[in-house]
Amino acid sequence: MRDAIDVIVLPSDKPIDVHALDRHDARKCCSVGSIVRGRSPPTRPSRRPSLASGTLFWPPRWLLLGAALALSSARAALAEPADPAEPADPSATVDPSETGEPDAPAESEAPEPAPPDEPSAQESTPATPTPASAPATEGPAPAEDTDESEKVKPHTAGDDDTTTAGQRPPDYADGFHFGSYGRVIAGGDATGRAPKNADIVARGSRMDESTYAELELRREDYWEKTGVRTRIVATTAFAHPVFHYNGDFNARLAVRNLYLEERDLGVAGLSFWAGARMYRGDDIYALDYWPLDNLNTIGGGVRYDFKTRTTLKLHAGLNQPTDPFYRQSVLRSPVHNQLGATEVEILDRQKLVSSARVSHVFGVGETGGIKLVGYGELHWVGAGQRELDAMNYQDLPSDLGFVAGGELSLFTGKRSTHLNLYGRYAHGLAAYGEWGAPSQLALDLTSKGAHEYVFALGGNYEVGPFGLLLGGYFRNFRNASAPEDFDDLTEGVILARPQLWLGKKRLFGLALEGSYQAQQRGVAVEQDDGTFKALFGQMGRVGIMPFLSPGGEGSYQRPHIRLMYMLTVRDAGARSLYPADDVFSRRGIDHFIAVGAEWWFGSTSYFRD
């Protein structure tokens, strides 16, 4: 009954909701990718989002994508949209190798590597050992949910069905398709303890992320009569632990996508979707982080691709984070004197999240380009009422928040070389993140005053047998309560992963990784000299990862089988973020040793069209 009351986070000095953290972390670990603003992980490192957990399967996508979009872009963008009445023969996409897109020279020039799951495509484009840099296609933006690839390969009649093999999404043929992202890790620390994400910031190294996999079943249809393409996507995801770890038949299972999309509906370039969907833009693979846009809602959206390589996307959806800020159920007596007790949702409000994104790609040279993205979100939740104690109700006012941000992407269009720069400001409800429930509220019980700004960068550079992945961000969050508290934080990380591919076919590789991360929180810590300073923790990590890459070179080439070792050095401040008896609270130096695998192919996570 008095359920949930103790986890309602009230404005001022209420303790942090540990349970809420758990939930958030859990989400992260599944790679939703967002940072739970305001409750950052380090507080409870043990439950942090993290690395260990999660995430991102995305990075590759742009690679793949990029490839697709790649070069075709410029011209494609200018091409005339297809006449919906005379759609291309979708069957043409069945065999990429046979595609004969008439006007896709760019693609042929820079044949993008086919998605890893399409050996035939790869074989057909052996000449491009280097996967076209393209992910960038659209820009370095690897992941965009929407892919600009469409811009690149405009809706010219039939052409998106006839892109060259390497640039095409896995398969366009009518029928069912399967795709997957997955990573499996077996390892631990030097004493044999189970692996545990060690980052003190929300997003750090991916090497100690835990097992996670997505299985996607997709249905593609082209309606000759109308020229419309439909796609139904159902993506399930599994998170650690899996059966072979604990022998438990229960799986941590989520449905990550369940939506229907209609493209070229009436007007070429116009598409609609509705359902439950991961909806996001470009990520920083090295950090498993979508700094600008990363939404998970049930709703719908519309997108229009202009002929000018400009894309506009609008979306609105609902979600309800599991938190007493949104939902509270209480026990009540059944009606009409029936026996027992029944649950009543006394508070049951949903969050409405809407987003708008406009992007434009400026072509530079034959393959390169610059992408500019403008982005905004509006978050709203209605007023409600919750029960603090038996029959003691509290009115909760409606709440608002917004996000404004942008991205600049520079890409060469070759070998996935790109540099993405992000800036994002979130206010009010939105400052706590998509899944985060506002805590430490303002005195009027709203999130008014909470804010967060993020500056991030991500990139990749490849030349010859060398590659360099980069990721970093700086983040500043303040919750809605005026006084500084533990949830107010500033943090940052910079990470670099140089890689070297070896052998004639470059089937082997060696990656090194180094990162530095630091975090400052709004609590004072007494120093040796008796003075007080805000809590400050820092950590350095270096790792080495030899791997096998049957697909050859490329930062975004998968699958991989790899060995990993990582050394972590944390200072006293970092150790103080962990509760007593947590090994991280005692260890200044830590070792992580693991063997693992990572793959991706054929799912909507890695292509857009």
Partner: protein, 633 residues
């Protein structure tokens, strides 16, 4: 082809007709007869002295509706077992075979479901005075039971409690908003460690006080619980959600203290209602009279009456009688339970001569309340009768079980006119309270009779039970039989004395069952046994080797019995024969000399003749008795 076409048309017609009939019949199918039938109150009770009451603990009598067996645990005595009203109705044949004529059923209202692992199966933990206890059934089931009983000329008495409600709130003594068990003192320096539960703190005449480590902090607030799963929910009707309607003084630990007796919570955390308030009086009338209006039941058995002020009883009983009489329900019987051996105290709730000697100011206040509530002025009338606990202690326990002198019986009975009153209540059952005590040999609050003699040989135990039943069915008043007695249940104290009757298979051929039936029949046949006055003709102060040690003899005649006469002679002596004579004195009876008296109880029907001097000397074996009536009468 033509034939086939006609056949098809005919078939279609038949199908259509069937469908139309089905649709036409549908409205009838959704009619809930039991729920929608209006209740019309009527007077079903005749002379209450003719009744034989059978006390039923609903949860333990019979289970005929598995649909309401929610959260029950029939293997554990302190939990719900599944009995329900439908079960009683289904077994009315059994009850009729036994011969009982009035069913006293345990409380019908919604209770706290479970508290500290013990269920409210007994019904004395009221939570909602307006709703039925769903474990026993719904209103339709209760109505159906009452109607079925009436069809068999059986009456139904509903058990009610006005003194307290269930454990619905706690005293927030340490002001932290949650129920705690508090520990005070360290046990050092001669100070004992004190445990105080906020659910049930000890009585404090000032009201329960909050305290902190620095000392007291004023009256402790009370906080109603909200736990639907156990039905610890705020009470209904709404007036009982007002803290002011409770005395809030904590648990009674000294019943001799009048303040505690009247204003303390009943042990177990049952919250004492401030029954001195006019609004509470009216709320109780409204709540409980409604159950009669809803069911047409015939009487109230009222719990814990000694814990409630007499002015409450004057108001409650009179207003209930008046309200029901206006609707056609007369002769409504209300008897109260005062769990006490003090005859004066027990009787003080049936007398109409103001035994509590109120001051004029108090009487004025009483009348002011009566006026405020509407209706005629309040008189001194109270309950119609009392559950005869003094007899249980002084006669059943002391004499019949433990062999004490039978003189105690005579002495006790002799006080009854004075203590209980001889004036019938106005608009009541038309009988003097002193003439209609509700007699019992055990009930749900005391060990069963057989448990009290468990150390005797089996045959002796049964003889003792039968001898006591003889008294029960022949003493002046209304016999009340606790369910299971007929099956020789022998459970100890609560809840062991609340066995499932279905364990007996509802056998009707047991010796005790048959004896009871026989006693019922004799009582039915003999007006003297039902309506006659009582006159003790022999009682012995002896408990030793004296010839009359253990003998009690009393006549039943006069009153409304016409010319009927009965002489009951019982030897309670558990060791030897005893006679109605001592030294030179022989029992004198009022039957004319020469009257031949026959023992209608004995199978052989022995005959005894009153001597010329009016004496009658009888010798009875140990633990035996006789009902003597004039031969041929």
């Amino acid at each position: 082809m033509g034939d086939r076409g006609r056949g098809e048309r005919r078939a279609r017609f038949h199908r259509s007709a069937a469908l139309a009939l089905t649709l036409a019949a549908a409205p009838a199918c959704v009619h809930f007869d039991n729920l929608e039938e209006p209740i019309e109150l009527a007077t079903h009770a005749g002379d209450w002295r003719d009744q034989v009451i059978y006390q039923i603990l609903v949860d333990r009598f019979a289970d005929a509706d598995y649909g309401n067996n929610y959260g029950y645990a029939p293997d554990h005595m302190a939990r719900y077992h599944g009995g329900d009203w439908a079960g009683i109705e289904q077994n009315l044949d059994y009850l009729q075979e036994l011969g009982v004529t009035a069913l006293w059923i345990s409380p019908v209202i919604k209770n706290v479901d479970t508290d500290a692992g013990v269920d409210g199966y007994h019904g004395y933990w009221a939570q909602d005075l307006t709703a039925t206890n769903p474990h026993f059934g719904d209103l339709a089931a209760l109505r159906s039971l009452v109607a079925a009983a009436h069809e068999r000329e059986m009456l139904v008495i509903i058990d009610i409690v006005t003194n307290h409600l269930g454990q619905l709130f706690y005293y927030d003594i340490n002001l932290n908003g949650q129920p705690d068990i508090l520990i005070q003192e360290s046990g050092k320096f001669g100070k004992p460690v004190l445990h105080t539960t906020e659910y049930d703190p000890d009585f404090d005449p000032r009201g329960i006080q909050a305290f902190t480590s620095l000392g007291e902090a004023g009256p402790a607030p009370i906080i109603f619980q909200h736990d639907p799963a156990t039905n610890h929910m705020p009470p209904l009707p709404v007036i009982f959600q007002d803290p002011a309607v409770y005395n809030r003084k904590g648990r009674t630990y000294n019943f001799a203290d009048p303040d505690q007796l009247l204003h303390g919570d009943f042990p177990g955390g049952l919250k004492d209602v401030d029954t001195s308030r006019c609004d509470v009086k009216q709320a109780m009338v409204d709540s409980y009279a409604r159950w009669i209006e809803l069911t047409d039941a015939d009487g109230f058995r009222i719990d814990t009456v000694k814990h409630v002020e007499r002015h409450f009883w004057r108001f409650f009983t009179q207003r209930v009688r008046q309200r029901l009489a206006e609707q056609g329900k007369k002769n409504f019987f209300m008897f109260g339970e005062a769990f006490d051996g003090d005859d004066w105290l027990v009787g003080s709730f049936t007398r109409s001569d103001y035994p509590d000697a109120p001051t004029q100011e108090q009487l004025d206040a009483e009348q002011a309340c009566a006026a405020e509530a509407g209706g005629p002025a309040i008189t001194g009338d109270q309950l119609d009768s009392a559950f005869y606990f003094p007899q249980y202690y002084q006669v059943i326990r002391d004499v019949f079980q433990n062999g004490d002198a039978t003189q105690k019986i005579a002495d006790l009975w002799a006080q009854r006119p004075m203590n209980y009153g001889t004036a019938p209540t106005a608009g009541g059952v038309g009988l003097a309270p002193a003439d209609i005590p509700v007699n019992f040999i055990d009930n749900h609050d005391v060990p069963r009779f057989l448990f009290g003699v468990a150390d005797r040989p089996a045959a002796e135990r049964r003889a003792l039970l039968h001898n006591t039943l003889l008294l029960l069915f022949t003493a002046q008043g209304i016999p009340c039989l606790y369910y299971g007695t007929e099956q020789e249940f022998a459970g100890g104290n609560d809840p062991a004395n609340r066995e499932d009757l279905w364990g007996s298979g509802y056998a009707t051929d047991g010796a005790t069952f048959r004896l009871i039936r026989r006693l019922v029949d004799i009582r039915k046949d003999r007006p003297a046994l039902r309506r006659g006055a009582v006159n003790v003709v022999w009682a012995s102060p002896h408990t030793g080797d004296e010839s009359d040690a253990g003998v009690i003899a009393f006549e039943r005649q006069g009153g409304d019995a016409g010319g009927d006469y009965a002489l009951i002679v019982i030897n309670t002596n558990q060791a030897r024969d005893a006679s109605t004579l001592f030294e030179d004195t022989v029992m004198t009876v009022s039957a004319p000399p020469g009257t031949a008296l026959v023992d209608v109880l004995a199978s052989g029907g022995g005959t005894f003749t009153v001597a010329g001097d009016g004496t009658l000397g009888l010798t009875l074996p140990p633990v035996s008795g006789a009902i003597l009536v004039p031969q041929g009468s």
